[in-house]
């Protein structure tokens, strides 16, 4: 008997054997209704389906067994792939199925189930014949096709089948476990299936693709090969697909390699599974729920057997455990959870003690702190404005409120950090919105703001003002305007007193030179000149009556006239100047003669009072007499190296003291006693020794542009005025740097003057004030000069941004004369 025959027989016997089981199950099915009464079979309804499957598998096997065609590479490959895809548990489940089959193998008893096997035989019949005539090559193609088709089917079928099996198994198991106590049926009634195995294929749990290259798929119990059913190629498959009406429900069993045709029931099951229903169609999902186990105490026990004794006795081992724990607790070896939590809490709780109790001074010293600690400044304490009910003046009025709102973008510019508000009563006061923010900012300040010690000034601003004697103690000085001399038409450029102080000479832009009486302010004489007068200077010696006036490029020496001063003096002056000195001793070089020319005075001019005239090559800006009255120093504008010219009146001779220009010369002065010449250039004052013909000193003023200067009558101090509003006092004994720089004026300072007898000096310029100051120079060389500004005198009006152009002191009285830009002369006494 060929092996497949045997297999077939076996199959048949299986089915025969299983049939009664089916009937059993059907019986149980009927019993199913009795479930309520507590008799539930271990095998649920699911068993049915299982058996059905077995039937189906029988057919399949039959089919496949006879299909012993040669294997095609095409099909093989696919099979390999399939096998590898299959998971092991799938195979397990199949084997389980086999086991079930095996259980009934021994009782080989024919039954009515023959019919189904016959059916299968009929089905497989044609297949068998086909495969039987496998020798003919023509059939081969079609066979191949068929096989392929079957294979495809099988692939699908396998999966569903295996999943169904699994499902069925699990359902069975669960149902068994659930129902066991109720059923009280002998579980082993049907016999323990696990050890009685009917393994047709004994290869075990190995991948089936190992047998791909072999004609067999494994070995049966007798060790004989199980021959693979004939493999079909794609053409066979196709043919089968075309011919076989059952093709759509044919699947292949991988363990046997046989085709299995699914029955109607299987299909139904598959359908149900796909739909997601319980596989058993008889299962009622909505059957009434019976609570077998409830908390209600039943009259009779659910279970028939009584409770065991041990369920009434305390557990010995537990008792031991508890005793151990209790003992440990008693002994303090362990702690309860609550105690532990308490302990933890206690540990976490801060306990404070007397931190500053025990330390001594030394220890405090020893404690290292922060290096040079700077404590953070305290917050400012609140003012009245912060009150909830502030005085009304602190509330913002509409104008302030507008400003407040305007600064909403830049709140730090506001007057207060909060809006002062008045509340009628305490209960209406709301919480302050920015409170947390302010505290946070304070925190930031404390740890982020750099700290430094800043010395706070406890002085009042008055302490910074130098302590000086009161002006009242330094009298006399001019305090008020007493005379105004009007007569000039344009600016009055310059004024001067005569040596006795009786007369005043003035010259201005209206090309006149006027002589006034200082006590009354009467104009005694007016001399009309050709050009505007830039400078006038009365000869300092009393013996002559002579006024030097710079008119344009000419320097005129005038005799103010017979009615001015002593007649005799005027006469003598005229006599002196009438005839020129003998010329032979005068030797003039080319440089000088081209710059200066002593002119002969015309009779007309003589009649007007001009006694001598010196014409220069540039306009004269400044004229200064030597103290003896013989020499005259003129400063020329843009004269370069020839800007300073020294004239000697007695010999009618001129000298150019400098051969080279050292800057823009502003003015030049003689030292009152010594043969020194002060020359002020734009920024520097140079002191020259006229005898030695050398530079003695260079005084650095620090000013931008010097306008004027004056020498103290004692000769040791020099006062320099500058256009940048400064008066600079030089103590020549002290240093070549300024002793003091006075910024008393609001505008350019144009004139300064020392009093000849009193320790007074005055300065005036473009602002409206003439400032009279006390300038005491001590004979003691160790004591520095004392400078005290005394009085601000109001000057006349302004004209063309100018106010006072010249100031001059009375030679004997503390009177001050100022030449104003408003064409007046003002005398302050």
């Amino acid at each position: 008997m060929p092996p497949f025959r045997i297999g077939l027989l076996k199959r048949k016997s299986d089915t025969k054997e299983t049939k009664p089981k089916v009937s059993d199950s059907s019986q149980e099915e009927s019993d199913d209704e009795k479930l309520i009464s507590g008799q539930l079979d271990a095998d649920g309804d699911d068993t049915d389906s299982e058996h059905e499957e077995e039937e189906a598998s029988d057919h399949e096997q039959d089919e496949v067994l006879f299909d012993d065609s040669a294997d095609s590479t095409l099909g093989e490959d696919e099979h390999v792939a399939d096998a590898s895809e299959e998971s092991s548990d799938l195979e397990d489940s199949e084997e389980d199925d086999d086991d079930d089959e095996g259980t009934s193998k021994e009782e080989e008893s024919g039954d009515e189930s023959e019919k189904s096997s016959v059916d299968s035989g009929a089905e497989s019949g044609p297949v068998h014949t086909q495969s039987g005539a496998s020798d003919s090559e023509t059939d081969k193609k079609s066979k191949k096709d068929k096989r392929q088709k079957v294979k495809v089917k099988k692939d699908r079928g396998q999966k569903t089948e295996s999943s169904i099996d699994r499902l069925a198994d699990t359902i069975k198991k669960t149902s068994v476990t659930q129902l066991k106590p109720v059923g009280q049926k002998d579980e082993y009634e049907s016999g323990d299936t696990s050890d009685e195995e009917d393994r047709r294929n004994t290869v075990g749990d190995v991948p089936m693709w190992w047998y791909n290259e072999y004609p067999h798929v494994g070995y049966d119990l007798d060790g004989r090969r199980i021959i693979k059913p004939p493999q079909r190629d794609q053409i066979d498959e196709f043919l089968k697909k075309c011919e076989d009406p059952e093709f759509w429900r044919t699947v292949r069993d991988p363990s046997t390699g046989q085709d299995v045709i699914l029955s109607k029931k299987d299909l139904k099951l598959i359908h149900r599974l796909r739909e997601g229903h319980v596989p058993d169609p008889t299962h009622d999902e909505y059957q009434p729920w019976v609570e077998w186990f409830t908390r209600e105490v039943l009259q009779t026990p659910l279970r028939a057997f009584p409770e065991h004794k041990r369920s009434f006795l305390p557990s010995r081992s537990e008792q031991k455990q508890v005793a151990r724990i209790v003992h440990a607790l008693k002994m303090g070896w362990t702690k309860t959870r609550k105690q532990l939590a308490d302990e933890r809490r206690k540990k976490r709780e801060k306990n404070f003690y007397n931190l500053w109790g025990s330390t001594t001074e030394e220890e405090e010293q020893r404690l290292r702190g922060i290096h040079k600690h700077i404590p953070a400044p305290r917050r400012a304490l609140p003012s009245h404005a912060e009150s909830y009910n502030p005085p009304p003046e602190y509330l913002l009025d509409s104008k302030e409120l507008k400003e407040w709102n305007k600064l909403s973008e830049t709140p730090w510019k506001r007057k207060y950090t909060f809006l002062p508000t008045q509340y009628a009563s305490l209960r209406q006061v709301p919480a302050y919105e920015r409170f947390t923010r302010e505290r946070f900012l304070r925190c930031l300040d404390l740890y982020l703001a750099p700290r430094a010690i800043k010395m706070r000034l406890t002085i009042s601003p008055e302490d910074l003002v130098p302590k000086l004697p009161s002006p009242r103690d330094l009298q006399p000085f001019p305090t008020s305007e007493s005379l105004v001399m009007r007569g000039h038409v344009g600016l009055v450029r310059s004024v001067d007193f005569d040596p006795a102080g009786q007369y005043v000479v003035s010259g201005g832009d209206d090309c006149t030179l006027r002589v006034w009486e200082s006590s009354t302010g009467r104009c005694l004489r007016t001399v009309r000149l050709a050009e505007s007068v830039s400078r006038v200077a009365w000869i300092p010696t009393a013996g002559l009556s002579l006024v030097a006036a710079a008119a344009g490029a000419r320097l005129l020496l005038l005799n103010p006239g017979a009615d001015v001063g002593a007649h005799r003096v005027a006469q003598r002056t005229d006599d002196l100047l009438e005839e020129p000195p003998p010329k032979h001793d005068v030797q003039v070089d080319e440089r000088t003669s081209s710059a200066v020319e002593w002119q002969r005075v015309t009779p007309e001019e003589w009649a007007r009072g001009v006694r001598l005239a010196i014409s220069h090559f540039k306009p004269v800006t400044h004229v200064a007499w030597h103290a003896r009255g013989d020499y005259l120093c003129a400063t020329l504008r843009e004269g370069a190296s020839r800007a300073v010219v020294v004239h000697q009146v007695s010999r009618r001779r001129s000298q150019l003291p400098f051969s080279r220009a050292k800057g823009l010369v502003q003015c030049a002065l003689f030292h009152p006693t010594r043969p020194l010449l002060f020359v002020a250039t734009q920024r520097v004052v140079r002191v020259y020794d006229l005898v030695k013909q050398e530079l003695v000193r260079k005084l650095l003023t620090g000013a931008q542009w010097i306008s004027h200067m004056a020498v103290h009558p004692a000769g040791d101090n020099l006062l320099v005025a500058s256009y940048d509003r400064k008066c600079i006092w030089f103590d020549l004994e002290l240093s070549s740097k300024p002793y003091q720089t006075l910024r008393l004026h609001g505008g350019a300072v144009r004139a300064v003057a020392f009093h000849r007898r009193y320790p007074l000096f005055a300065s005036a310029g473009d602002d409206d004030n003439i400032i009279v100051s006390h300038g005491m120079v001590y004979n003691d060389l160790l004591q520095n000069p004392l400078l005290v500004p005394l009085k601000q005198l109001r000057a006349g009006g302004r004209a063309e941004e100018l106010c006072v152009l010249d100031v001059r002191w009375h030679p004997t009285q503390p009177w001050l004369l100022a030449a104003g830009a408003d064409s007046t002369l003002r005398l302050y006494t």
Partner: protein, 607 residues
């Protein structure tokens, strides 16, 4: 041999300072940990004298720490704790990531705490040092005690703050140390004096907690501060209780013990508990008798014994003594609309007894019906049932009385009255150029009569005179007072002249004739030379103005700024005065109108 050139910035200011980045590197800490340790240790950046040199020639502005400070931090044991903590946090993070919630919970439960006792001692070697620095501590603790549980603020921290602040208030009550109180829009300011140190703190008004913008407030930083401050306040409390012979910790109501898990259902319950706690008196140590009475102040012959100063000090001491027992024996009843906390605290501080409505809040000691109640504090316009035996006053009376150090007359503070302004007691009166409102002046000087006290309309002239005076006052300080003086003088002179003229103003013709006569030749009666009354002052002023110009160049800017400050203050004072004057005038006008109306009405009625 050429000596090795010294490296730049290896000595001097360049070596003294360290940027924050360098400090982090040196300490091997993250910025977060560094911040924390700086806060705890009280390390702060410093402002160098020469920034360029201190930054080793690098431009810009960097946060500079003193090198010695950083070295000081280097030896701090906490640094190691912080590093360990970092590891611990990593563990927690890992457990969370691995979803090992049980171990995470355990880690969180056993989170190690850093002990900072030694830092308190280190930062404040003596108790007085700690007291001196208590201002910020108290303010922050009081603020935190109002906080709910926040993400960055642990719950037990705010609980601890509550406990400590209440303990501190009790210490103040026991020591009768409160000196000044002030109700501002921000909160209640209290000033106490312990061991000669004044401590001022602010308690916010109710509902002070508002959720804050993340950019505006970082609660983590504040929480770190509070971590230190609670420690410090705890030790200060202990020391205070110790010195007051009180038991520490005091037995307060259950709301303050940390282990209560019921944890305050609502904030109100807590507040009322706190107030109730304040009404309790604390347990004293056994055997400690109340040696509260300070001995009489002895007079020591000091070097600079200025009798006036001594006298002043004596008076001050007397006043403080009076203040301490100001409310002694007085019973106060607080109506329910009044914010109780400050009032209970203040009244208890000065020896009064307080109670409130038993039905509404816990801790009341006596009922409203008690006939011995001296004052009932109300904050409503009227009340239905009033007792004759007591005064009904508004809460401001209590605050103002404390600041005045005596029981003020209650007539201005009666129920429904418009309250007088509440003034700050913290304004420094010793400074010059401080505006003193008329109310304060009235308080200090009993002779001073404020303007709005004038009742009758006939006083208007008087008032205007006063106004003038008021106006003059700033002027007298003014720099251009001199002009005003000159003006005044001129006016006077003019008046004189006009009076002269008045005589012969009768007939213009006559005048002419007289003039002619005069011109011809006449002897006029001599007019006595009138001395300019302000001449001297004007001259002085002028001289000073000149002298001002001689301020040394070095000081000129300083002088100018000082002057400008003075000017500004003057202007502010002037503005306040002006506003006050306008306000008073307005009030007066209103009063007048009302009176007129009343009169008219009464007339109509009579007709």
């Amino acid at each position: 041999m050429v000596s090795k050139k010294k490296k730049k910035y290896s000595s001097g200011e360049g070596a003294q300072f360290m940027t924050r980045k360098a400090a982090l590197k040196k300490l091997q800490l993250s910025l977060k940990d560094f911040r924390r340790i700086c806060i705890l240790k009280g390390i702060y950046p410093r402002e160098p004298r020469n920034r360029k040199r201190a930054q080793k020639g690098v431009g810009g502005i960097k946060t500079l720490y003193h090198t010695k400070d950083i070295k000081f931090l280097l030896h701090e044991p906490i640094i190691w704790k912080l590093r360990e903590l970092k590891v611990y946090q990593q563990k927690i993070r890992r457990a969370r990531a691995m979803r090992e919630y049980r171990s995470m919970k355990k880690y969180l439960r056993d989170y190690p705490e850093i002990n900072i006792d030694h830092i308190v001692k280190e930062r404040y070697p003596t108790f007085v040092d700690a007291l001196r620095d208590l201002d910020d501590c108290l303010t922050l603790c009081f603020l935190f005690s109002t906080f709910p549980s926040l993400k960055k603020v642990p719950r037990d921290q705010s609980m601890l703050c509550r406990r400590l602040t209440v303990e501190f208030m009790h210490a103040v009550i026991a020591a009768k140390a409160l000196r000044k109180v002030f109700v501002s829009v921000k909160g209640y300011y209290y000033q106490v004096e312990f061991e000669g140190q004044t401590i001022t703190w602010i308690v916010p008004h109710h509902f002070s907690f508002q959720p804050q913008n993340k950019d505006e407030v970082d609660f983590k930083i504040m929480s770190t501060f509070v971590e230190f401050y609670t420690m410090m306040l705890g030790f200060v409390n202990f020391k205070l209780y110790h010195s007051l012979n009180l038991v520490y910790p005091p037995k307060l109501t259950s709301a303050f013990s940390a282990d209560t898990d019921k944890d305050l259902i609502d904030e109100h319950a807590y507040v009322s508990e706190r107030i109730a706690a304040m009404n309790l008196s604390l347990a004293r140590l056994e055997g400690a008798n109340d040696a509260e009475e300070l001995p009489e102040m002895d007079i020591f012959n000091t070097e600079d014994d200025d009798p006036q100063k001594l006298e002043e000090a004596k008076q001050e001491a007397e006043k403080v003594k009076k203040l301490k027992t100001m409310f002694k024996g007085l019973k106060f009843f607080i109506n329910r609309e009044v914010p109780r906390e400050p009032l209970v605290f203040i009244i208890r501080c000065f020896g009064g007894e307080v109670s409130w409505d038993r039905d509404h809040f816990v801790g009341a000691t006596f009922d409203e019906t008690d006939e011995s109640i001296a004052y009932q504090i109300v904050d409503r316009p009227t009340m239905d049932k009033q007792y004759i035996s007591r005064y009904y006053v508004q809460p401001q009376w209590v605050f103002d009385s404390v600041n005045a150090r005596s029981l003020l007359p209650i007539n201005k503070y009666l129920m429904g009255a418009v309250l007088p302004p509440h003034l700050s007691p913290f304004v420094d009166k010793t400074k010059d150029q401080v505006y003193i409102p008329p109310e304060e002046r009235a308080l200090n000087d009993p002779n001073f009569k404020p303007l709005n006290d004038d009742q009758s309309g006939s006083d208007i002239e008087e008032a205007s005179d006063e106004d003038k005076e008021d106006e003059d006052e700033p002027n007298s300080e003014d720099s251009d007072a001199e002009e005003a003086l000159a003006k005044q003088y001129q006016q006077e002179v003019e008046e004189d002249s006009t009076s002269d003229e008045d005589e012969d103003n009768a007939d213009p013709e006559k005048k002419k004739i007289a003039k002619e006569k005069k011109k011809a030749m006449a002897v006029t009666t001599g007019v006595p030379h009138k001395e300019h009354p302000y001449q001297k002052e004007i001259e002085d002023k002028q001289a000073f103005r000149l002298r001002e110009k001689l301020v040394r160049k070095k000081h000129r800017n300083l002088y100018k700024s000082m002057k400008a400050g003075q000017e500004q203050r003057k202007k502010e004072i002037w503005l306040l005065r002006k506003k006050r004057r306008l306000h008073d005038e307005k009030v007066k006008e209103n009063k007048k109108n009302e009176k007129r109306k009343q009169k008219a009405q009464s007339l109509e009625a009579s007709v």
